[in-house]
Symmetry: C2
Subunit: 147 residues, 2 copies
């Protein structure tokens, strides 16, 4: 034990950072054949979640800024995975939808990303992996408004 200082390897911040790094790398490898990044997959996922989201709604669901969403959609539109259509009901808005190619890519890329997640969780037993996912969900989504 203790190749690094014991104090450091016990810090949650350190562990979280390196866990994310490892998963990001696995994900990038898995997604490379589809020409998309993990963030772009997340955008596709959000757009597939329900019909006809505006850019701002999609940004809110993803938890990113609206200006960040512009760049994402520019890229995805360039790859013909999504399409922006003016909203007939409110012409300030763009309705963003998946193209057929986008839907195909989403399906296959999600499967690849699932495999990457399984690889990420490989050091854990199946039951532990489930508990880990649940715990992560609890701490990530917890709203501490009254700190």
């Amino acid at each position: 034990m203790s190749t690094t200082a014991p104090e450091l390897s016990g810090r949650l911040g350190h562990l979280l950072k390196h866990a994310q790094l490892r998963l990001a790398e696995l994900n990038a490898q898995a997604l490379a054949p589809f020409g998309i990044s993990g963030r772009e997959l997340a955008v596709l996922l959000v757009l597939a979640g329900q019909e006809a989201a505006s850019q701002q709604q999609a940004a809110a669901r993803l938890g990113v800024d609206r200006t960040t969403m512009v760049a994402f959609l520019d890229t995805l539109e360039g790859k013909a995975l999504v399409a922006r259509r003016p909203d007939p009901d409110d012409r300030r808005r763009n309705v963003v939808v998946l193209t057929p190619k986008g839907a195909d890519t989403l399906r296959e890329a999600t499967a690849a990303s699932d495999a990457a997640e399984r690889c990420f969780l490989a050091p854990l037993a199946a039951a532990d992996a489930g508990r880990f996912r649940a715990a992560l969900q609890a701490v990530a989504l917890y709203d501490d408004s009254g700190t």
Copy 2:
């Protein structure tokens, strides 16, 4: 309810990202009174781990680049928390040590950061928190050389 798409909130990457964001925020709040960031605390922790580390050794232990360590130490030296001394055995190296003030800050800041971690883990029962930490350690430190 489901404010976000169910698909998205189940993605590990998304959960990991937001978990890290929340912990980083809690940590920043806890550390603010001491005038240091979470990363700077990590550097202090590494330096306290053993006597007389060179900058490069410290960088390797922290998992950052040597050039990044230069900037960290510049800042910490400016706060009089660490001191660089030329290594008498090898004058290419700087030996980096905590100052007394640095040691004090480390002790108090670590306690504050521990409190932030407890707050972060608040949505989990004590036993779950322990399992979560162990699982995180397993997946973060796992070496997948043969992907």
